[in-house]
């Protein structure tokens, strides 16, 4: 791990040791919660929060206290409280005041990314991290960026927006994020066609079941005979509920909470909640001994018992049904 801009080597060592200790603590204790999705995510939250606080302390010791109020928020599976044993980083910073403070918070984002990486959260391939200027902005810049994403409505900009929307504040001012989401809801209400564009953005899904009802695992490489649970099984649920939450103005990022907060007229959708709950448990049951983030999503179908295969197939079929029903709701309710 390389941390740049260090003048005080002892201090650097102290923090690295601190992060490493947290990593050791993680490895030692995670087995206590690795069968329970809620407890596991509370564990992750606590670990991330502590790491981020350490990183903030370190930056404050270098550059002085933060020049403005800010919110550190997490996205992706962390934002949705759906992390598995291993997870990568997806986070951002919103700060009050002007863009002149950006360099301070970017340095903070950089320290947070490095710290989380040592503690066991892989750096995000897509650079959705508060060390990236795109994900570290003042409130005003964030408002402008979200408006731009929705106005542009390109595949890439809507993918950014979807990523942003599965978010919650872990440290700092909750209100900053709520304000941004509120603005997004207002924008979408004025232009319902965007719901269709957002659906188009998630329409492609990697197939997991063939027309004969068989699993469609990968054929080559180290993923031979494996299905990617995240892409194949989770996405239909996550993407559907995100889209419906956008339509209904639901702030919470958790897929389960989204199910619960949908209005009663979505009863046909709500019945899939039980499948998603089962899926969260099954994933931990199958993958609690995973050794890396690379491996945590891969499920070798050859090692499943017959009943497990059937249960998983049922969840997958229900996920596809949920996705189709969502498509119908969006097309019916949002066509101009």
């Amino acid at each position: 791990m390389v941390i740049v801009n260090h003048s005080d080597n002892d201090e650097f060592e102290a923090y690295i040791n601190c992060y490493l200790e947290m990593r050791q603590w993680r490895d030692k204790h995670i087995h206590k919660v690795w069968e329970n999705p809620i407890a596991l995510n509370q564990f992750h939250d606590m670990l991330i929060k502590t790491t981020v606080q350490k990183a903030i302390e370190k930056v404050e010791s270098e550059l002085g206290p933060a020049p403005a109020h800010f919110a550190f928020f997490i996205m992706g599976s962390g934002g949705r409280s759906e992390q598995s044993i291993w997870s990568d980083q997806d986070h951002g910073i919103i700060f009050a005041g002007n863009e002149g403070f950006k360099s301070y918070f970017l340095r903070m984002g950089e320290e947070i990314s490095n710290g989380l990486s040592v503690v066991g959260y892989e750096l995000c391939d897509g650079k959705v991290m508060s060390s990236n200027p795109k994900w570290c902005n003042s409130v005003a810049s964030w408002e402008q960026q979200i408006s731009n994403w929705l106005n542009e409505a390109s595949w890439e900009s809507l993918r950014y927006f979807s990523t942003f929307f599965d978010s919650r504040v872990l440290i700092g001012e909750d209100g900053f994020l709520l304000r941004l989401k509120e603005r997004a809801f207002n924008h979408l209400r004025k232009d319902p066609y965007l719901y269709i564009r957002l659906f188009e953005n998630i329409r492609h899904m990697k197939k997991g079941l063939g027309i004969l009802g068989q699993f469609l695992p990968d054929s080559f490489g180290k993923e031979t005979r494996c299905i990617n649970m995240k892409e194949v099984i989770f996405f239909p649920y996550i993407n559907s509920l995100r889209l419906l939450s956008l339509k209904e103005g639901i702030f919470t990022p958790s897929t389960l909470a989204r199910f619960q907060q949908l209005p009663n007229r979505y009863n046909t959708i709500k019945k899939y909640q039980v499948d998603f709950e089962k899926l969260l448990h099954l994933r931990l049951y199958f993958k609690k001994h995973s050794k890396s983030y690379e491996d945590v999503h891969l499920l070798n179908v050859d090692y499943l018992a017959k009943s497990e295969k059937q249960e998983l197939k049922q969840i997958m079929k229900h996920g596809y049904r949920l996705f189709n029903e969502t498509k119908h709701i969006i097309n019916k309710g949002c066509s101009s």
Partner: protein, 423 residues
């Protein structure tokens, strides 16, 4: 010369040119199915091995097949040079040229097993030995008056003689050369080493498909009753069915209509119908092609699983399906095109019982075993004498274009490799 005889000769020479043009199809197919760093090598070796094959066939190959001899091998007509004309049938040189093209196609199929890792010198030596001692023997047994032909084996255009023989040599080569670097992981799983250009591969298949009309329809050896049209019809139907079946099964099983599999399906249909194109009804040609297309998909998977690295799927397309094609004759041959014209027996589904099927099976087994064993011995000896028939690890990594020929087929697209200074 009678006009009909002249037309017969003209038709066969057209067939000859079409079959020779199939080598162009192989160039595109093989180049497209392999990596960019080997493209020039794959393309170029087809040309010079065709040259070697032609010379060997002229010197001894034709004589071993069609010369006066015994049930095992012909022993005359070496260094062929009959310039005589004829009053009926084919002029000797026309027949010779047509037969030579089949030998060249079989040789090219065999080299499928060499792809991306064999030394250039291995191609040279094996081209000579295969063209002299492997292909001609099997061809003599079935087409040259040898013991399998006398048993009544039916192979209209060469499912066994050309395709299976070539494929068995490819199998021997593949086993001795071992998989390419990076094909298999430590945990035993296979990687997909994708070819660099599916457009080339598709175009190669189309060229082969066109050439196959010379291969099959040309094997009527004449224009009488325009029977070649019927043979061409069966050929077309089987190829189409093979492509459709392979694409369908790939889509059903993997969820993706994989292009290389679809292309191999078309070739499988062509290989499958080659033995039966003049013996079966069109509906049977469709069935034969369909089964060929399905088989090629599973065969490709099977070889991968068995850790037999077959870069251009020669073993599946020409071997597995070559066997099916030959056996299908024993199932679907109709009396009107076999028993009634004194050309073997009808198939199992046409009241011929198991007789023809048995003959076909024996032919496949004998020819396959011979081609494999002799090729294996030849390659083993070559391996020992030549200090290995595989290029070094470094040569394989930088590509055979550079290591064997000194320049890349795509020079602008390749990284610069500096020669190491000698120590």
């Amino acid at each position: 010369m009678d006009a009909t005889v002249l037309m017969d000769n003209l038709w066969v020479i057209i067939g000859t040119i079409l079959v020779f043009f199939m080598l162009g199809g192989f160039i595109l197919l093989e180049a497209g199915s392999t990596r960019m760093k080997n493209a020039g090598h794959i393309a170029g070796k087809t040309i010079f091995t065709a040259g070697i094959g032609a010379l060997v066939f002229w010197a001894v190959g034709y004589g071993f097949i069609y010369g006066e001899g015994n049930a095992f091998i012909g022993l005359s007509n070496f260094f062929y040079g009959d310039a005589s004309t004829v009053e009926e049938g084919l002029a000797p040189a026309v027949d010779f040229m047509f037969q030579m093209m089949f030998a060249l196609v079989s040789l090219t199929i065999a080299f499928g097993g060499f792809a991306e890792r064999a030394k250039l010198s291995a191609y040279v030596i094996f081209a000579i030995l295969f063209s002299a001692f492997v292909y001609p023997v099997v061809a003599h047994w079935i087409w040259g008056g040898g013991w399998l032909g006398e048993h009544g084996k039916q192979d209209f255009a060469g499912s066994t003689v050309v395709h299976l023989t070539g494929a068995m040599a490819a199998l021997a080569a593949t086993m001795i050369l071992k998989p390419r670097i990076g094909k298999y992981n430590k945990d035993g799983s296979a990687n997909n080493i994708a070819g660099h250009n599916q457009v080339f591969t598709a175009l190669g298949v189309l060229v082969l498909w066109v050439g196959w009309f010379g291969f099959n329809a040309g094997s009527t050896f004449g224009v009488a009753d325009a029977f070649f049209g019927f043979v061409a019809l069966n050929t077309q139907l089987a190829a189409g069915a093979g492509a459709v079946a392979a694409m369908f099964i790939a889509w059903v099983v993997t969820g993706k209509a994989d292009i290389p599999t679809t292309l191999n399906g078309a070739l499988a249909g062509l290989v499958a119908i080659t033995a039966s194109c003049g013996f079966v009804e069109p509906w049977a040609a469709v069935v034969i092609g369909l089964v060929g297309g399905l088989m090629v998909f599973y065969s490709m998977k099977l070889f991968d699983k068995a850790k037999i690295d077959d870069p251009i799927f020669a073993l599946s397309v020409h071997g597995t399906v070559g066997v099916w094609g030959t056996l299908s004759n024993g199932l679907f041959a109709v009396p009107a095109l076999s028993t009634d014209i004194d050309w073997g027996q009808a198939g199992l589904f046409y009241g011929g019982g198991f007789t023809q099927l048995g003959v076909q099976a024996m032919g496949v087994a004998a020819s396959g075993v011979y081609a494999f064993v002799v090729s294996y011995i030849i390659l083993k000896v070559m391996n020992a004498v030549m200090g290995g028939i595989r290029v070094t690890e470094e040569e394989e990594i930088i590509g055979l274009d550079l290591s064997e020929h000194g320049s890349y087929g795509y020079p602008e697209s390749m990284p610069k490799h500096k020669e190491k200074a000698g120590v």
